[in-house]
């Protein structure tokens, strides 16, 4: 009975403590003021002329979008504040649903901002990316409900998730376009996958950790569209610390308890 109570009660207790930690003001700040990722992003954004055209590949998944949502919103707010033309396209059903939700939110909170052009949903995943690459390069037309021309695109922002992320854009779109920088905002679980592309320069900038996202939100300038930016929407630092420490303690205790018998000789099986 006691084991069962522990087995059921411990996760519930952990969730309650995590929820409480999210509500308590801790004074902790997860933003990294010296973030190289943010510096790289600022350089790319600074090179954009006011009135430039940005294509957003919006394909996060509903499971991890909460992690990057405040950063994505701040990025959209900053682009709106500079009067930059933003077009949004999705290649996954999840991404399409979330893109529409963000577009409607932008229309509601910032009715004076330039409207985000909706290029719609294009099925076909990698094949659709090939078609998009051709449309950006001007070698083919875009087969999307939006049907807008993409030849004037100055920057591509990939909001990625577990279904379709920056790797696919780098593989399928980047070889077909000339010198248009690609940047990515992804959950931290994709960091090992996208980091080599950032190091090679194929991704001009990557925001993929809560620290970098928080650091970007600190320095971003959404201008008159601060409400759109959701600057305070990030995860509470204390909850992150409590969660990580709980995981370390829980797993560490297990390893310490098991490491002796595991590394030693295994008990002989009864062969009778």
């Amino acid at each position: 009975m006691s084991d069962r109570l522990t087995r059921i009660g411990a996760p519930i207790l952990l969730l309650v403590v995590l929820a409480a930690a999210g509500l308590v003001p801790s004074g902790l700040d997860i933003a990294d003021p010296g973030s190289k990722a943010v510096d790289e992003l600022r350089i790319v954004l600074a090179e954009l002329d006011d009135g430039a055209a940005v294509l957003v590949g919006f394909d996060p998944d509903v499971g991890t979008y909460a992690e990057i949502r405040p950063t994505v919103r701040m990025l959209l707010a900053e682009l709106a504040g500079r009067g930059i033309d933003v077009s949004i396209v999705s290649l996954t059903p999840d991404g399409r649903a979330l893109a529409l939700a963000e577009r409607q939110r932008a229309e509601r909170l910032a009715p004076d901002a330039q409207e985000i052009v909706d290029l719609g949903f294009i099925p076909g995943a990698e094949a659709a990316l090939v078609a998009l690459g051709g449309a950006i390069a001007g070698t083919s037309e875009l087969a999307s409900p939006g049907g807008a021309s993409l030849e004037a695109t100055d920057l591509i922002i990939v909001v990625g998730g577990n279904d379709l992320g920056p790797r696919s854009w780098v593989e399928q779109v980047q070889p077909r376009i000339d010198a248009i920088p690609v940047i990515a905002v992804t959950p931290i679980s994709l960091l090992p996958e996208v980091e080599p592309y950032r190091q090679s320069g194929q991704l001009a900038a990557v925001i993929a950790t809560p620290r970098d996202g928080a650091a970007y939100r600190l320095v971003a300038d959404p201008g008159p569209f601060a409400a759109l930016g959701d600057a305070d929407g990030g995860p509470p630092a204390l909850a992150i610390v409590v969660g990580l420490l709980a995981a370390i303690g829980w797993l560490g205790e297990t390893v310490v308890r098991r490491i002796g018998p595991s590394l030693g000789p295994r008990p002989e099986r009864d062969r009778s």
Partner: protein, 205 residues
Amino acid sequence: MRRFTFPALVLAVGLLILADLLVVNASLAGVAGVVIEAVILVAAGAALAAGGSLAIRRARDLRARRGDPIGALAVLGGMAAVLVAGLRPGSGGASDPAVGWIVVALIVPIGATLFALLFTSTLAAMRRSVARRDRESLVLVAAALVVLALLLPLGGEIGAGLAASAGWVLAFPVGSVLRGMLIGVAILAAVLGARTLLGVGPSDE
């Protein structure tokens, strides 16, 4: 030879698109464009068919009273709600506010909650793995512990040291293993593709 038809078709299409990427030729680009349009249409049809298949299977489960009736009802009810909201007369389709509300108020929070529950279920799974007393599980959990410690969002010199260590781990051990896997998979796909195109099967070895 029949079993090679579909892989060979896939490879032929892949080679055509690759050739279009490497060679500037208007005719080749036209053919590649038609193929890509066809692939996109097939993908759209497959997605629609998958949705229809799911609905039929759940409806049959419900009718035959097998499986999980509550889950089947939830799936069918969810599909019906989105379809009604998006297809009713006067609706704005996928961009209709009612569809948006279903997504923002229901689907996103439910999805995020299920994903968040992975936190405790993953920890429990790792404990069970360690309880099996094999060295692979111990190495896995030890690596997870190191990564968790490196990700602690602390400030000051300690935080900077942790961030630098995390960067090194990502760039070298993790990065090299991941790149090795990607390169290995790419080589394997190329070899498999060549064997398929040439009609070389296990019986020829």
